[in-house]
Symmetry: C2
């Protein structure tokens, strides 16, 4: 969960250029196995009869979670966001490793946190196989905040797995669920958005306990050309697919799925939340137009709603959003952790 | 690196009981593959033709590193402590994943940090295959401190790998290098110990750039019965072996290896640093007395000093340290991150 809204037009060095600049292209370090590296939701490691998908995410109380967050939902969501990366790749969750930095040894907090973590682990059959517990660094006289890092490992058949590079011009663009709900709940928690008492519980549930689309990702293996999970915002995460695949996109806003709860809000707010909110952990994916029926059948088997929301354009086109009245607007950006630093 | 000295006799819930209490015995979550879980330096994952060893460590500026630490050495050491866990298992480093929480996007810091990380990756042929960058949570008005979590993966032949459960009565206890140097440097940095100008640079180099004993760990496969790396203190880490193997130990203090730099300090200080200091990233391991020559040959091949410092006793004996004058003392504890919380 982002801690604050996007900054203005002057964006400092962002998360993606940070990674690209300092932590890639280490040509003097041999890469083991056959693997794909930084840039997708998961790295793939080819180990003979099995391919592993590996992902890691770090989350801090105060940055990704409100200070008041229930430790049970923190545990659930901390694992869910990693499972969501495995879902994008189509991998079956197998195991995870947990590092946690705590300001103090608080048994009540840990008990709730571990209960949430265990519940999510049980649902998705993903075993905790190791970890590290340490003390969060104090800042001045004050204790530091809890920080959680999870590395999750999924399994794929050799050669299988959906990455971000397989989108081709003419492909449909699909999205699962109803993105935007989590961000609307966050805006409400910040006091920046009035939400009715009827709508709020649903929106809040999508923020606190997102559903990693593990079954859908598995069902889409061999059907989807490219996939990503919606963590930074729909347009931003689709943008990663476009960049890695060397293509462009247009989105049909009238077709964009929105929950009844989100539809209680003004359309401009719906649009902002759905297209650039982030924290939804739905899947955005592409598939050839000839595979529409296959996509729908896959979604039925996974028990998950999917919506066709746009199409892939050739490289060099401007990414655009088409409105009901025929007007066109530019892509909205996603959340950048450092934009207001 | 511990941030402060050990607390008094009243120790609150410590790191190990935390892990044991909340994060193990999840009998409702299926364990994938054939694997060993929490309790060793690494988890082993058996994937057909290959066994993986996986470990993770979290480190924070202000807890594990001094606030003034050079980011280059932070990068080196952050990977080294994970490689040290792989070394204990005897695994060949292959890949790692980095999650980093930063108070701000500071290109100068990141450049130095990534240079150190890359240098260590290059030395041990361990490729960076993925990661996550996020913003450290602020505490009040102040920015949070940098926190680093690394998950490292090593490779073993099927069935190979040294754990902590294989120590047997009568086995020798060995240690690599000269434990205690890092903690002496830390005490000096805290202003709690006077160290001569001649001795300080060496001690400080052992604190800043420990040498993961990767080659030694590999050479000891099939020779060592049990191994652990010395991160929490020699007695504490040997204690993990004893507990997991269900045995006891006696240590011959006069035989304990000490660097010339450490020997410039009073013997009581040497003993405290060497036996309970921590942060050395040497290996403590056991081997049958009949394999002494094999251990020495393995150390020669690895280019690493090893010293025989004690022996394994049957279960139920009191763990003890034998002095030169024939007197006996009890085991000293290791560092506990939460002991002064």
């Amino acid at each position: 969960m982002p801690s604050s809204e996007e900054g203005g037009p002057e964006r400092p060095l962002d998360e993606f250029s940070l990674i690209g600049k300092f932590f890639s292209s280490w040509t003097d370090v041999p890469v083991p196995w056959k693997s794909q590296g930084i840039g997708d939701d998961c790295a793939f490691l080819d180990l003979g009869a099995v391919r592993l998908a590996v992902t890691c995410d770090m989350m801090a109380i105060g940055t990704h979670f409100l200070d008041s967050a229930d430790p049970y939902t923190v545990g659930r969501k901390a694992l869910a966001v990693n499972l969501s990366d495995l879902a994008a790749a189509g991998a079956s969750p197998r195991a995870f490793f947990l590092s946690i930095g705590l300001p103090a040894a608080d048994p009540a907090w840990l008990e709730r946190f571990s209960a949430g973590l265990r519940e999510e682990a049980r649902r998705y059959r993903c075993a905790l196989l190791g970890g590290d517990t340490t003390k969060a660094a104090s800042v001045g006289e004050k204790p530091g905040k809890t920080v959680i890092s999870i590395t999750a490992i999924g399994e794929l058949a050799p050669g299988a797995g959906t990455g971000r590079t397989g989108a081709a011009p003419g492909d449909d663009i699909w999205v699962s669920g109803t993105p935007g709900d989590a961000f609307a709940a966050l805006l409400a928690a910040w006091g920046r958005l009035r939400v009715s008492e009827e709508a709020l519980p649903y929106l809040k549930s999508r923020m606190d306990t997102p559903t990693p689309r593990v079954e859908l990702g598995q069902e889409l293996l061999g059907i989807a050309g490219a996939a990503a999970d919606v963590s930074d915002g729909f347009c931003a995460d689709l943008g990663h697919i476009l960049e890695r695949s060397g293509v462009s996109a247009e989105i049909f806003w009238p077709d964009f799925p929105r929950s009844d709860a989100l539809r209680t809000l003004p359309e401009a707010v719906q649009k902002r939340c759905a297209l650039s909110g982030g924290d939804d952990y739905e899947l955005v994916f592409t598939a050839p137009a000839a595979r529409r029926e296959s996509v729908k059948q896959a979604a039925l088997r996974a028990g998950c709603r999917v919506s066709r929301v746009g199409r892939i354009l050739p490289a060099g086109c401007e990414n655009r959003i088409l409105e009901a009245d025929g007007s066109v607007s530019a892509f909205a950006g996603g959340f950048n952790h450092f934009s207001d630093s």
